[in-house]
């Protein structure tokens, strides 16, 4: 029995380890386009770029693969999935057959489609991180295009190194798509207080070696970094005729439209109780939890056992200067936002409420409320704003009462 995994990011690598834990005998082959032993991506925009040695963390120890009979193939880009004859093909025309296939090809950064766009550096891999680190150390004036998590992390890290930093955001606010507006405002205020020049409603028109021409002004910069979001790597899945819509469509068991092909991590668009009834997440929590679910389901498929559904309480974090942002749950367009009262200085907790019911929680420098929020969101019954108000903002006491 053979399982092939395409992509050795957090999802693919964790799936390989989980499969091995469940079954000592399955043949497991893990393919990576990259040349590095699988490593953690979240630290790249945090400690890797801004540490002296650009050190990075492996997902599993370098000897794990050999010891556990996981065939790790680096520098190995899969060129084709043949779902009819159940094999994957490489450049060399070499093929490997599978019984079950896991697609975990992740995402790639959007290209900055403006004149001089190629001058902007982007971050996805360890190689990118090392290159950006070198460029930042030489630069004096840095412009970051994109006020999402990656852009904010890089901007705040560079500012800590006393660089002159301008952050350009095309929308009305940084972190606009990700957190409650009042939360984003607070983060923005902090970055401003640290001396980052934030320009909102500002689009880059062109880049040259002197800086960026934007819709509002010309920004002088000797280094431009773009963090304008990512798009799922679906080429292989499209060519294999799998159902596609904002990523690869999977059912609650993470199975694609082909019963022997599963998709996990950033590319998987799975059923979820959201506005559209579906969700695609780019996070460690999602990659890691889907990897474990898919491993269980592949074992279940072989043994004719019951599948397990993927029903997450999504969570995510971002480190920006002295701020730790932690988000749990999924907000939506109809949500109302409620700032938790009676909190200590320097922290912020914002609840997302739909019809008075808690659906998500954003916390700033408040790990405890984040953890409590995850507990509340995973509670069997819906948590209502009235429950929270009864405890005057003390989430921990509410959690205790519910237990």
């Amino acid at each position: 029995m053979s399982v092939v995994i395409i992509g050795a990011g957090h999802a693919g690598t964790t799936a390989a380890a989980a499969l091995r834990k469940f079954d000592k005998d399955i043949k497991i082959s893990l393919f990576s386009e990259e040349g590095s032993i699988p490593y953690q991506r979240p630290p790249l925009s945090k400690k890797t770029i801004f540490s002296d040695t650009q050190n990075y963390d492996l997902i599993l120890g370098k000897d794990f693969y050999n010891k556990n009979a996981i065939q790790l193939n680096l520098n190995s880009a899969v060129k084709e999935i043949n779902p009819v004859q159940s094999y994957v093909r490489f450049n060399s025309k070499e093929i490997i057959e599978y019984d079950q296939l896991i697609i975990a090809t992740g995402t790639k950064g959007y290209e900055l489609n403006i004149p001089g766009g190629e001058l902007a550096q982007t971050l996805y891999s360890i190689n990118d991180a090392q290159k950006i680190a070198k460029s930042i150390s030489k630069a004096k004036k840095i412009a970051v295009i994109g006020g999402g998590f990656i852009g904010c992390e890089i901007a705040s890290g560079a500012r800590k190194q006393n660089k002159e930093v301008t952050l350009l955001e095309a929308g009305a606010s940084i972190l606009g798509r990700s957190v409650a507006p009042i939360f984003a405002k607070s983060v923005s205020k902090y970055h401003h207080s640290q001396g980052i020049n934030i320009l909102t409603n500002c689009k880059a028109l062109s880049i040259n070696h002197n800086g960026i021409e934007t819709t509002s002004s010309i920004i002088s910069a000797d280094l431009v970094i773009a963090g304008i979001g990512v798009t799922p790597n679906i080429k292989l899945a499209v060519e294999a005729n799998l159902d596609i819509d904002n990523g690869v469509l999977v059912n609650e068991y993470l199975q694609t439209s082909n019963e022997n092909i599963f998709a996990i991590g950033d590319i998987a668009n799975f059923p979820f109780n959201s506005d559209s009834g579906r969700l695609r997440l780019e996070s460690i929590q999602n990659a890691s939890d889907q990897a474990k679910t898919v491993a269980k389901n592949i074992i279940a498929l072989r043994n004719n056992q019951q599948f397990q559904s993927y029903t997450p309480i999504p969570w995510f974090w971002s480190d920006q200067g002295d701020l730790k942002l932690q988000m749990a749950g999924v907000g939506n367009l109809n949500a109302k936002h409620h700032v938790l009262e009676n909190q200590t200085d320097g922290t912020l907790t914002v609840l997302h409420l739909v019809e008075g019911q808690l659906v998500a929680i954003d916390t700033l420098n408040h790990g405890l409320n984040h953890i409590c929020g995850r507990k509340l969101l995973s509670h069997k019954k819906p948590i209502l704003i009235d429950d929270i108000k009864r405890f005057k903002g003390d989430l921990k006491s509410l959690v205790k009462e519910l237990n």
Binding site: L58, G61, Q285, W315, H370, I371, C372, R374
Partner: protein, 108 residues
Amino acid sequence: MALVKYILEDNSEVTIEAHVGQNLMQIAIENDVEGIEGACGGSCMCATCHVKVESVNGVELEERSELELEVLEMEIDEVATNSRLGCQIEINKEIESITVRIESIQSI
């Protein structure tokens, strides 16, 4: 330098010489110690590096932070008085040796 002994689920033991500044989660991953995952990269946001501290020589460990305890209580069915997150125990100059028992990862 400190000696870190991990007792695995099958009761076998692995002893590693660790450097000051590393935490018990990082040390375990770098050395392929089975049963420690570190899904959140040491951000104190999951409990996939749960260990029970059996003994410490050289110095007493600092108490668990409120946050660490909350994470343990959320993720672990039965939190013992010596339950810790490996990522929150950093090797310092005072620690001569430490022995921890690895608990099965709850989320798998």
